[in-house]
């Protein structure tokens, strides 16, 4: 899957500018992902592609439109050096895989990458290198295993 590489501190105004988020339509949101920051992204991204980013990905607004747009665009995972807190929670809650990897810089834009979600291994096929993502905290892992917050709450008897 193709890697789309972004820099540090990618904020939610770059992912989904506020002027484009007056909707809850997921397909529409998918079509506006990075609309001004990287206009070719939503047009060229293929189902299963991944996003690579630096530190503090998703900082700024709490708008869940941002991870929803990324997921709806077809992205199968975001790998970053670190994530802003609200974006991270939102992504976990809606079932968009988010992985933390310090060495993610070694992957370049356009590289072909495969992720083994069981082991956390990230294989860059273009460079033939394998990186390792930080394991998810146990509690977060439980939410992920249930497929998001709604199912987790159901299985734990909260609703």
């Amino acid at each position: 899957m193709r890697a789309w590489k972004f820099g540090n501190d990618i904020n939610t105004d770059l992912i989904t500018p506020g002027r484009y988020t007056i909707t809850t339509d997921k397909t529409k949101l998918g079509s506006i992902a990075f609309i001004e920051h990287r206009p070719e992204f939503a047009k060229e991204v293929k189902a299963g592609d991944i996003i690579i980013a630096g530190k503090n990905f998703g900082c700024g607004s709490s708008r869940e439109h941002a991870p929803v747009a990324i997921k709806a665009a077809g992205v199968s995972a975001v790998i970053a050096k670190s994530f802003a807190r609200i974006f991270y929670r939102n992504a976990i809650n809606i079932g968009l895989p988010v992985l933390i990897c310090e060495e993610v810089d070694r992957i370049d834009d356009g590289d072909l990458v495969e992720i083994n979600f069981e082991t956390g291994e990230i294989h860059d096929k273009t460079k033939n290198i394998t990186l390792k993502a930080k394991p998810l905290p146990k509690f977060i892992q439980k939410i992920v295993e249930k497929g998001g917050l709604v199912n987790f709450l159901r299985s734990e008897g909260y609703v």
Binding site: D9, N11, D13, L14, P17, G18, R19, T21, I22, T23, T24, E36, H37, K55, N56, C59, G60, S61, S62, R63, E64, H65, P67, V68, S82, A84, R85, I86, R89, N90, N93, I94, P137, F139, G148, L149, V150, L153, R154, Y158, V159
Partner: protein
Amino acid sequence: MGLTITEKILANASHKSEVTAGDVVFADVDIVMAHDSTAPLAIEGFYEIGKKVFDPNKIVIVFDHFFPSPSVDAARLHQKVRNFVTEQKLPNFFTDGVCHQILVEKFVSPGNIIVGADSHTCTEGALGAFSTGLGSTDIAASMATGKCWFKVPESLKFNLSGSPKKGVYAKDIILNIVGQVKADGALYKAAEFTGDYVKNASVSSRLTLCNMAIEIGAKNGIIEADEKTTNFLGREGKIFKSDKDAVYEDEYELEVDKIEPQIACPPVVDNVKPVTSVEGKKIDQAYIGTCTNGRLEDIEIAARILKGKRIADNVRLIVVPASTKIYLDAFNEGCLQEIIKSGGTVCNPGCGPCVGRHEGVLAEGEVCISTQNRNFSGRMGHPKAEIYLASPATVAASALAGKIVDPRRYL
């Protein structure tokens, strides 16, 4: 080993004698808030989980991001949320101010747990509460269950000492902190503000400090409640204080008397400089308002600077009080009249042009100086518009000059 105020509030709300940083707790929430921009997704999530909200009195819905509606799409979202409010019989529905200001004026008590579908929900921590921003699905879950899970954060202590020089305000102090700590410097952590500056600061100034805790990545900003807080609120709540031997991951010392007026330059909030270094930059728009600086104290400062003068040609000055209460108080004091007579435009209480949806959207190449908290590309309109962030005094003085100026010459 002592506990921080954040740890104590989270322990209390999750019925534990104590918790420490790193623990995961399920806490009872006292207030669940969503606004017109985030409530629509939360409502869709809510109906996947439940049929009835856990307690209609504890849900607060505010239309502030685009009210009155500027488009058919916006009106459609408003309609969806209004239907939810009617169906769930929610008594706390407002259209007359920024959500955080509404919560401050009507709902927050010290010791509360507040969750809001808006990142600047950290603002309310200035009243001795644990208050944090969440996304729509988390808010949906809290509306259904009355609970929320939290990882107890490590705390950073910001000890602010001294008295600011004339022309320096809470906004300059928090901008200075953001410039030092950087956008991810407090990621996942509690930012606790303390010291004699904070003790002496007005509640309004304390709210400005906590408002921008998210701009350093913090989970919550927090200030211990005192007599000033409870007098302001007219509510007692439950007052928690950090123990003397509480554990902090890091401590910052800041002598506020050494700080000059500050400005955050585009396109990121942590690009902070002294105002003097960008003096002379021509502006097209000046905006005073928002959850950061739309309170009476802020409007008074601006009105004093604008009184009897005229803003520069080709500059539009937009002023948006953060609530109807503030609007009326500023009117009764004559502040709004001075602003209007100087050439300013006063809009209805709410977020104003901060999110780029109405009331002052920017064109390509335009420059805006604003009292808001974010200057990201595309936030207020065209991605090639530039946004500078400063105090109400700096914004008002710059509106008069038609360019960015040091406000101290205008006081």
